[in-house]
């Protein structure tokens, strides 16, 4: 009987993310993963039914980790600026400390796997952020806006800055490092743009 080994399991998850980020989803296989971990293909099949099951389970776990990290200490009763500031702080910290995670989800985005993952991520966010937005609009701090309009102004700048930082370059190849000063200067403009 083959038994589970938590260390091996963690190694498999970590290497899977690394491989998918480095070589893309299409080039990913259980065989390659086994070689990268120095274990047998059979061992991987103890933990996962097949390649799809592996990818979905790993993505789901990453998504849950990220959601907990971003929403964990978030207070939906906070004022608009406080709440958004906390979101920016949590999201930027998570992405900067887990660079592979963001790139991993980039790989998944165009794939068939993403719909299953969205269900996991979106439900929690909808609940918490939904409550936050309701409060903020009720207080008259922000106008009701279509979700995409709100998100594009509230969060897209943050994701862009993080991407520039990950690539080490901004517009036209200009060298770039994200600093607190730049992050919060951008944030101030975002808040100004959204506040009534």
């Amino acid at each position: 009987m083959r038994t589970r080994n938590t260390q091996k399991e963690e190694l498999v998850k970590q290497k899977a993310i690394e491989l998918i980020v480095k070589e893309g989803l299409e080039n990913f296989s259980v065989n390659k993963l086994a070689k990268a971990c120095g274990i047998s293909v059979a061992t991987i099949y103890i933990y996962y039914k097949d390649k799809d099951d592996l990818i979905i389970k790993i993505a789901a776990e990453e998504a849950k980790k990220q959601t907990e990290s971003v929403l964990g200490d978030f207070d939906p009763e906070a004022s608009f600026e406080e709440g958004l500031r906390m979101q920016w702080k949590n999201r930027s910290s998570y992405m900067l400390q887990n660079p592979l995670s963001a790139l991993f989800f980039e790989q998944l985005r165009g794939s068939a796997y993403i719909d299953e993952i969205y269900d996991i991520i979106v439900t929690e966010f909808k609940k918490v952020m939904g409550a936050f937005m309701k409060n903020v609009i009720a207080r008259g701090e922000v106008e009701p806006l279509p979700l995409e309009v709100f998100w594009s102004v509230a969060f897209a700048p943050l994701y862009t800055l993080v991407r520039f930082h990950a690539e080490g370059k901004s517009i036209g190849g200009k060298p770039f490092t994200l600093t607190d000063a730049i992050l919060w200067q951008t944030f101030d403009h975002v808040v100004k743009g959204l506040r009534k």
Binding site: T3, Y45, K49
Partner: protein
């Protein structure tokens, strides 16, 4: 802790899968799948009531290649 057996096979097509499905039903195995995306067409069986060799026998009798995956 689940008992899981994995085999290298040549179960490629949907028809192959259907045939194997019938075999699994006959021997009473409910939790199984084949990863046909994998180069080894891995047959994975959870909590089999029969032995590894019995499984190999019954799958090879149906005309497939089946070897325990190391």
């Amino acid at each position: 802790m689940q008992n899981i057996l994995v085999f290298k096979t040549n179960i490629h097509s949907i028809e192959d899968l259907f045939t194997v499905g019938q075999i699994m039903t006959e021997i009473g195995i409910k939790d199984w799948n084949v990863d046909r995306q994998d180069i080894d067409c891995v047959l994975r069986i959870v909590e089999p009531d029969c032995s590894c060799q019995e499984l190999i026998d019954v799958v090879t009798e149906a005309g497939f290649y089946c070897q325990e995956l190391e």
